[in-house]
Amino acid sequence: MATLRVELVAADQAVWTGEAKMVVAKTVEGEIGLLPGHEPMLAILGAGEVRITLEDGNVIKANAEDGFLSVENNVVAVVARHAALI
């Protein structure tokens, strides 16, 4: 099955990059879950938690605020001024 390539970047560094099964993030409209094959999207990020589910089922959590989220060709970029893993 296809996987998502996730890039979680803050203004001054790349926080986390890797392959994942699912990404859950919070936009200004509410929580959104992204699976492989999602349509291209650009959304404004709300303050909150980003959960990245890896292929082996482990979950990586990070705080991200003040930024945006883009999805394109199974590449998910969470781009925030401030972001940190929890």
Binding site: E7, V9, A10, A11, D12, Q13, A14, T17, T27, V28, E29, I32, E39, P40, M41, L42, A43, I44, G67, F68, S70, E72, N73, A77, V79, R81
Partner: protein, 302 residues
């Protein structure tokens, strides 16, 4: 000690003290270049992601947004100049200022008014000395730029951009800064920030390709509103980091040649002082010999 000799010794000592300072500055800069380069590298993923997103929106949607559309006429342009806070970095700051002057001439030829935003104490001093006005300046921290400063600058220029010409707003924003190419090459560079010139990073889609339909949340205008300031910020932050890395590299190079010059001076003056000492000794010997000669002839006559 002869007067000549004393002068040379003094000069040697002063060259040695200077050399100590320049050598220390060289070493400090050398150790900071690495860190500055790492900071440039660390911020690259962010600016790449932002740039990709911006070009995606600009390419894949045909929304009219003030930040992306070229205004019908451009009456006033803002120039943001990035220099260093401190000197002793060779032509680092003056290169940028020269580039900025050229840009100013060009813009004025096109009939545009030019206003300035200055970053770094050197540019402020340059403008102050020539009694030229500028809108705003940021000093301090040019060798270790913070993201918050970049955000402040971005807020200021975007605010000016969003203001009408009549109320003192600008229609165009240029950045002038040093780009770090290698340890020995830093090149001053002009980038037009706004209105956007699209944009490196994303390959333009071929005509035959079907554009992916982007979904925007909440909607296109709001996303662009939020995205473009972020883009401006990241470009400005990147320019500041590049400029900081260049500053350290330029300072290292300048201080290296200053140290070399001090070495050369010390060597020359040491030679000269040795010669002076030797001639003094020779003179003393000949005086003694002459004196002894005179004494012995005087003794013989008695």
């Amino acid at each position: 000690m002869g007067a000549q000799l004393r002068v040379y010794r003094q000069k040697i000592k002063s060259a040695q003290t200077t050399k100590k300072i320049t050598r220390a500055m060289e070493l400090i800069s050398a150790s900071r270049i690495n860190k500055a380069q790492q900071r440039v590298a660390a911020s690259t993923p962010y600016s790449r992601a932002v740039t990709r997103a911006v070009s995606a929106v600009a390419t894949f949607s045909n929304v009219d947004h003030p930040l992306t559309t070229e205004p019908a006429r451009i009456d006033r342009a803002a120039v943001v100049i990035f220099t260093s806070d401190r000197g002793l970095a060779g032509a680092f700051s003056s290169n940028v200022l020269k580039e900025a002057e050229q840009l100013t001439n060009l813009l004025k030829e096109q009939g545009k008014e030019v206003v300035y935003y200055l970053v770094g104490r050197k540019s402020v001093a340059y403008f102050g000395f020539r009694r030229r006005s500028f809108v705003q300046s940021w000093i301090g921290g040019s060798d270790l730029p913070q993201f918050d400063t970049a955000k402040e600058i971005a807020d200021a220029v975007v605010a000016a951009f969003n203001t009408d010409y009549k109320d003192g707003g600008v229609d165009e924003i240029h950045l002038v800064s040093n780009r770090f190419i290698s340890m020995i090459a830093q090149v001053p560079e002009v980038v037009r920030l706004l209105p956007l010139e699209i944009v490196e990073g994303v390959e333009a889609p071929a005509d035959s390709q079907v554009y992916p339909l982007y979904e925007f949340e909440p909607d296109v205008t709001k996303v662009l509103d939020a995205l473009l300031p972020v883009y401006i910020e990241s470009r400005i932050y990147n320019a500041m980091l590049q400029s900081a890395a260049s500053e350290h590299a330029a300072r290292q190079k300048a201080m290296k040649s200053a140290t070399d010059n001090a070495d050369k001076l010390i060597k020359n003056y040491t030679r000269l002082s040795n010669a002076a000492r030797q001639s003094e000794i020779t003179q003393q010997i000949s005086e003694i010999v002459g004196g002894a000669d005179a004494l012995s002839t005087a003794g013989n006559q008695d």
